[in-house]
């Protein structure tokens, strides 16, 4: 009985270990030739096609909300001329990667988990292994790379659309001056902010794809299992992404000194 309880208590650690081992398998297969260029391009196109429009649509209100909140706060401090700068900082450093991660996990991750899960329960993955082809090399590696690539691009899209949305809101609704919004862009923000946004997006894309592939490939128990796998992959990815986002932000703030003057 006691062993049963301890087994249950330790189960999540086992799952985390398996997920990590799966990630290592993917990393090892990354260098195995032949590289599946065709699958990679198809997947990148597919992921981009399911995420671009929702991302743009999410980015506009995201930028607007930040402009509203920051704009209001800054007005109270009497530093209106820095509104643009603060909005850029918030969008590029945090909002961009987070909005990207939500969409990558929600749209791309769920699609990948559903696709691989369906293949798993139809025995397609078994058939592939039996035909002497490693599904990790053939299916997972191209998906992971495609997800990372698209995440970086989406991050750029969110940053541009978010800043533009913030600009429109600041100028139209909050009576900000266009000149000061744009002129203050570089007052606080600096180039490393952009790099860290991209690095975050890259890591988020990696995590979302690895979790989705792992959950999909381990789906069990018929069609219901596929639904469960999709559900779990989205939930697990969200949790991991928010934790990793916090850690990366903390490290960044330690490493890169804030811009002065």
């Amino acid at each position: 009985m006691s062993s049963l309880t301890s087994q249950r208590a330790l189960a999540p650690i086992g799952t985390a270990g398996k997920l990590f081992a799966f990630g290592l398998d993917v990393a090892r297969s990354l260098f195995r030739r032949p590289f599946q260029t065709r699958e990679f391009i198809q997947q990148a196109w597919f992921i981009a096609s399911v995420t671009i429009i929702p991302t743009a649509l999410v980015a506009i209100p995201f930028g607007a909300v930040i402009a509203l909140q920051v704009g209001g706060l800054i007005k109270q401090f009497g530093a209106q001329s820095f509104t643009g700068s603060a909005a850029v900082l918030a969008v590029v450093r945090e909002a961009g990667p987070i909005a990207t991660s939500l969409l990558i996990a929600g749209a791309a991750g769920s699609a990948i988990a559903a696709d691989l899960g369906a293949r798993k329960i139809r025995e397609e993955l078994d058939a592939m292994m039996v035909l002497g082809i490693d599904p990790i090399q053939r299916l997972v590696v191209p998906r992971v790379l495609a997800c990372m690539l698209v995440a970086v691009f989406l991050n750029g899209l969110v940053s541009v659309v978010g800043v533009a949305g913030g600009y429109v809101f600041n100028v139209v609704l909050q009576d900000g001056t266009p000149g000061s919004y744009i002129a203050s862009f570089t007052a606080l923000a600096q180039l490393p902010d952009l790099w860290q946004g991209m690095a975050k997006a890259l890591v988020f894309g990696l995590i979302a794809a690895v979790v989705a592939c792992y959950k999909g490939m381990n789906a069990a128990g018929g069609p219901k299992g596929v639904g469960d796998a999709v559900n779990e992959s989205v939930v697990v990815t969200f949790m991991l992404l928010f934790i990793v986002n916090f850690v990366m932000s903390a490290i960044y703030i330690q490493l890169v000194p804030p811009k002065t003057g």
Binding site: E123, E124, D126, V130, L131, G132, I133, D134
Partner: protein, 317 residues
């Protein structure tokens, strides 16, 4: 030429539940063997262990000197090129049409030009009677067609070993007879080692050279067809003749009380042994034996009426 599969002392459990243990058998090269067993005795698990999709807990599976149960991932992918496997539902790739499905192994493993690929694929499609359906998606065709398409894909790399999981589930009796005839003709043509997992008695009685029976977590018997069909062993006898009297119950094996209650009933007499299916072109297969040869060599009297042409396929008595 076909390759021998030597299984020694194999055991597999899921968690604490033993699926089967101590399974030892040698599937002879180039012959057709059938693995039988009541539902839920782990026949498909056995098949998956043979191709290395499931790692057994104990024992070895030797194929051409490589132990599937303990070899490295790399060797496993290498040895799998000897195999052709037909899964229960065909396991076709849903996103590709039938042509691309069948061409898939060729495109991945060979450097054949697209026109050579086309020739090979069309030859195999013709073999299984699917000419004209190559542009269909797996979702658009019937279960029987999917199965035949799966067979075409399994054959495309000229396998030495062909593993077939329940070829007759979901097929009508006529199609089942056709697919059985196809197996025999294929065996005559390519001399591969065949292992068919099924619980269709008619298939088991007429198709194979050898029969194995998995029952109650172990291998009850494995040997030449005539040995099992003339066997007096209660389990073998009950299963091969589809009777209710005997040690196999509705859910699992019967308990002692039920068996004691049956003591009085004599088991019905063994039905005659039917002739084995022969290749449709009439040229005998290399592994084919003369009807009744095993019974004669081992001094066993076959049940009356055995080995007669045109005998009824009906089993039981």
């Amino acid at each position: 030429m076909g390759v021998e599969i030597k299984v020694d002392n194999l055991s597999k459990s899921f968690g604490r539940q033993l699926i089967w243990g101590n399974v030892s058998l040698t599937i002879p090269a180039g012959e057709v063997s059938v693995m039988l067993g009541p539902s839920g005795t782990g026949k498909s698990v056995f098949l998956k262990a043979l191709i290395g999709l499931l790692k057994p807990d104990q024992g070895s599976i030797l194929i051409e000197g490589t132990d599937i149960a303990s070899c490295s991932e790399k060797d496993l992918y290498e040895i799998r090129k000897l195999f052709g496997v037909l899964f229960q539902d065909g396991a076709m790739f849903g996103s590709m049409n039938l042509f691309d499905n069948v061409a898939f192994p060729l495109r991945e493993h060979t450097k054949k030009s697209e026109s050579e690929v086309r020739d090979v694929v069309m030859e195999k499609m013709d073999l299984v009677g699917l000419i004209g359906a190559e542009d269909k998606l797996p979702g658009e065709i019937s279960g029987g067609m999917r199965k035949r398409a799966g067979l075409a894909r399994a054959l495309v790399l000229d396998p030495e070993i062909l593993l077939i999981d329940e070829p007759d589930s979901g097929l009508d009796p006529v199609r089942t007879s056709f697919i059985n005839q196809l197996f025999i003709d294929l065996n005559a043509q390519i001399d591969a080692t065949f292992l068919i997992v099924t619980h269709d008695i008619n298939t088991a009685r007429t198709v194979p050279d050898n029969i194995g029976l998995l029952y109650h977590k172990h291998l009850a018997m494995f040997g030449p067809r005539e040995m099992l069909l003339s066997s007096e062993e209660p389990v073998v006898r009950q299963f091969l003749n589809a009777q209710t009297v005997g040690p196999i119950g509705m859910s699992e094996e019967k308990d002692a009380d039920e068996l004691a209650a049956e003591k009085g009933f004599a088991m019905p007499p063994l039905p005659p042994i039917p002739l084995q299916l022969e290749p449709s072109n009439g040229v005998p297969r290399r592994s084919q034996r003369e009807p009744g040869a095993w019974c004669r060599d081992n001094g066993v009297t076959a049940p009356p009426g055995s080995f007669q042409a045109n005998m009824s396929m009906v089993t039981g008595g």
